[in-house]
Subunit: 594 residues, 2 copies
């Protein structure tokens, strides 16, 4: 405490000067010269909440528009993860309500298993807290930051708190929390039982249908400074792309903007309600509805142990230190994947270590020998049941549903490994005939849709490995034009999905995949495979067009030919018609044979 | 503890299955279905060290080559900050020594004030700890992560610890620390007094000069997996660019690679020593030397209080809560910049709050009214003595020293503000005559050198606001060619420096500036100003070339003209010579007049 005070008083000094006397004079004055002692006194802990509050652009809260999207994204990701882990077909509603000129309340409700009461404060108001960080298993969330950060942003910009409703079993709770940013701990402002159930309102032909009431679920509601803008980086687009990659998801969406006469920005979703009083809106009005097209939940991936080849020396030592096993051999077999007892024995022999040694002792002294022995030993690649790719069929389904095109193809690459983490690349491609799809201009760069663990990535495309992979492919070889160092040009949508137990994002906002060479290579392979199929289609289409052109050309001559024959051979009109018919048939046969 | 155990045992289950029975069978088995309770038990704290260990690409440790640069960068930045704050002209040595195929030891020594002994473990082995985060003042470091992260990376890849020598006053200490990543706390492995002084070895004409021995200083030494590669993103380039922006810095640099016959990668810096035994290298051999060109330390910027207009509602409440002032009025005047007692009074009146109210009470209840009143009040812009730009003269000096060109210009923009943080943009430009500088090809994109708070940024150029600004400028208007959406093309170097109390980097590795519109705008203005000067130069050069061409053309005719006149007018040879001379003089006069 004494230290802190000292730091603060010495901090206050220069500023007092500046405030007290004329700023112009203070400007020319130098800050006091520091010594090791005075510098030492200024050293302080930085809480992770303070850090991210100051660096909120790292989390995707750098502008009001993106803040809205990031909040929806974090909440929907959590909802989907929870539903899938509990084996429930997800229903998720997103309700965006304007509460002031630049203020919105975002509420996301799901029919998942709910959150037990004593975990709510930490899950929703403590950064770096969660269940997904320490396991190796594909899921949307992985950091334990997102939703707490959204709440922290709301709190920063409006002073309000995050409200959570949760129903687990028979009881429901309403809890309001804030982040104590100095200590990165939750502050509970309200905690009371409540009579609440998650309700969803499907709409058909614009009219509200029968409400779906779930037995369990969670609703998180955050008020924040934000901006609602439609377009390529909007909540609308996010939910649409989400529906493509998650055909088992049923989602509900409404936006209620404040209408004040001149405002023509109100989407039709607000229906017939004008200037809805925000206090008591009709719960069932104004929802749009993305219906689920598949009742099959994605396979639930298994959790795996780290693969020895992807583990660094320091991590190896840490794992051995933490091991509950009594001997080195059993620690290797138990705490890593793809290491049988026999393999463990072999590794120990190669490292000249006693297989019955205490793993904790090894961690401190001989981990380097062990590390080398492990990396010199051949092992099976990591198990891949920790991944749940979308699958080629579902990819095609999604593309066909959303994109009006002439040619579709999709592939799921076999799993690969970067830094010991299994990952899998999927690529889908939809090519429209030029001019047949308004959204796809043949003179513009192709539209690239990026996904990571089934989550659409809408921002930071330039920094993403997926964009890099798409640029690295030589698309000219497949019949597309491509400016140097840029993606190809054409009426085409490319969709790339990376599924991994740990997607290496370039920042905490999780919008771009880092440039690991193994990942880029797999993306390139996937795109090349699709590109080859595209090339076959394009050259066939070209040939067909050529034949068609020739055929049309010849069809023009048939009547003249028949007339000539008629005059030379003195044919009757009937014979002339027969000649025309025969010639046409011959042409068609040739056409079919080509 | 009980919670942790439960989480671990339930985690272990699926993996046991996979290991015990055939993996093929396990692959088809689904993970167990979760409930709110089982999910709740898996929730855990994530330490910030664990987080960054897994996300080490965020800190700039994604590949061995970059890891080396990042480590040098963090250590040199800290050294320069410490020297400048203590008012010492900096001497910094960077010693890179290969210790294995892919292992290097990086040691950075400075003549700064040193670090007091009890702060060493936390500064060098605890993430989010430092003196620069909580103050508003331009400095190279700002996060309290960098050097600890470098040590953590060394520990992860080699198991070794960070070694620090520090001399403060009479005593020197040698301390070895590691990061306890589970708890984000330092573990001290060695701590003993030592007889040590920082020594620097200037070299002249390849021969070691007289050693410079400093009275105080720090040396940090880290062993890590790394790769030494020269080029645009190398340590060599970093130090060179560093010397441009820091003319007061004297730096020393050596790289000692393991030589094994076939290795031709050894730089000449290793001198005549062959296969130097890493245990006892001669201390004075092999240094290259960047001599200081200015003995003037940059102005030491002052620390400022936050400006009210850049403070969000939540932060305002937090500041009021933490205030030591007794009344709202004095809290406003004391804890913010540019708020006098009178202005504070006005703000209170506008917000209809009692100026004598307790600030803590206001924080809880009426901060929103206050927030609005503040934002409706006109205030002076934040003070800018917290910034220390390089200055136009020094910029030109640096460019002229390093870049061989024909035209140089530089400007320092007036300070501006983003999110309440003052910042200042400086732009320098050097244009070489095509073909006169080998490094600058007239057909390639211009070379863009990016700086933030005097630190060169070598990675992630694509994601940087500086690149964006450079691309946004219409360079065609200034006589350069520019592909659509790309930087201009030409034999030119553009240098852009942003100085700010808080540079908004796109990631913790601090290699790219985030896209704040205010920042991009200032960069564009700066570039346009330089561009206009370039246009004047280019059009003058073009005109000169044109005149020159015409002149040469006419010079060709003068003898023939004289000959003609001689024949017509029957002139003597002497008269003919006089005519040639007169015509030449006339031509030169015209040339001078244009």
């Amino acid at each position: 405490m004494a230290k802190k005070k000292a730091a603060r008083s010495s901090k206050a000094r220069p500023a007092k000067k500046a405030a007290g006397k004329g700023a112009a004079r203070a400007a020319t004055r130098r800050a006091p010269v520091e010594t090791a002692e005075s510098l030492g006194k200024k050293q302080r802990d930085i809480s992770v909440s303070e850090f991210f509050l100051k660096n909120r652009h790292l989390l995707g809260f750098d502008n009001p528009r993106r803040a809205l999207l990031t909040t929806v994204k974090e909440a929907v990701d959590n909802a989907l993860d929870a539903c899938e882990e509990a084996g429930v077909l997800p229903e998720v509603s997103v309700d965006i309500e304007q509460t002031g000129d630049t203020r919105f309340r975002v509420s996301v409700t799901d029919n998942g298993p709910g959150v037990v009461r004593n975990q709510i404060p930490q899950i929703f108001a403590k950064l770096l807290y969660g269940s997904k960080f320490h396991r190796l298993r594909m899921s949307r969330g992985q950091q334990g930051i997102g939703i707490s950060a959204a709440g922290m942003y709301g709190q920063l910009t409006t002073g309000s708190s995050t409200r959570i409703y949760s129903k687990v079993g028979r009881t429901a709770h309403c809890i309001e929390v804030q982040v104590d940013t100095r200590r990165n701990k939750p502050t509970i402002l309200k905690d009371e039982p409540i009579d609440w159930r998650p309700e969803f309102y499907p709409s058909r032909d614009g009219k509200p249908g029968k409400a779906i009431v779930a037995r369990r679920g969670t609703c998180v509601s955050i008020e924040m400074e934000a901006a609602y803008v439609r377009g390529k980086q909007s909540v609308d687009e996010y939910l649409k792309q989400c529906a493509i990659a998650n055909p088992h998801l049923q989602s509900y969406y409404r936006v209620r903007l404040i209408t004040n006469g001149k405002d023509d920005e109100v989407p039709k979703k607000t229906g017939k309600k004008k200037a809805a009083a925000p206090e008591a809106p009709a719960p069932d009005v104004g929802w749009s509805f993305f219906e689920r097209v598949s009742k099959q939940l994605p396979d639930q991936p298994n959790e795996i142990k780290p693969h020895p080849h992807g583990v660094e020396l320091g991590t190896l030592a840490q794992i051995l230190k933490d091991s509950t096993a009594r001997t080195l051999r059993s620690a290797l077999a138990q705490d890593f994947s793809r290491v049988s007892s026999q393999t463990a024995q072999k590794i120990c022999e190669a490292a000249k270590l006693n297989p019955k040694a205490n793993p904790t002792r090894i961690a401190h002294q001989e981990s380097e020998a062990l590390y080398r022995a492990i990396n010199a030993t051949k092992l099976m690649r990591p198990p891949t049941d920790c991944l749940a790719p979308i699958g080629e069929d579902q990819l095609l389904l999604g593309l066909k549903k959303e994109i009006n095109a002439d040619f579709y193809t999709a592939i799921t690459r076999p799993p690969a490994v970067y830094r010991g983490n299994p990952f899998q690349i999927e690529v889908g491609l939809a090519y429209a005939k030029p001019g047949e799809n308004e959204d796809l201009n043949a003179d513009n760069p192709v539209r690239l849709m990026r996904y990571a663990n089934r989550v659409p990535l809408l921002y930071m495309g330039g920094a993403c490995a997926i964009t890099k992979g798409c640029t690295d492919v030589n698309w000219k070889a497949y019949g597309l034009s491509q400016p140097r160092g840029a993606p190809p040009v054409g009426p085409m949508v490319i969709m790339v999905h990376i599924a991994s137990v740990w997607v290496p994002f370039t920042s905490e906002s999780k919008e771009a995949v880092a440039h690991y060479p193994e990942i880029i290579r797999e993306i390139v392979y996937g795109l090349q495979e699709c590109g080859r199929r595209l090339a076959v289609y394009l050259s066939r289409r070209k040939r067909e067009e050529e034949v068609e052109r020739k055929r049309n050309y010849m069809v023009l001559y048939i009547p003249h030919l028949a007339l000539g024959l008629k005059q030379i051979l003195k044919l009757s009109d009937r014979q002339e018609k027969a000649v025309v018919k025969n010639l046409n048939q011959m042409l068609e046969r040739t056409h079919l044979e080509t």
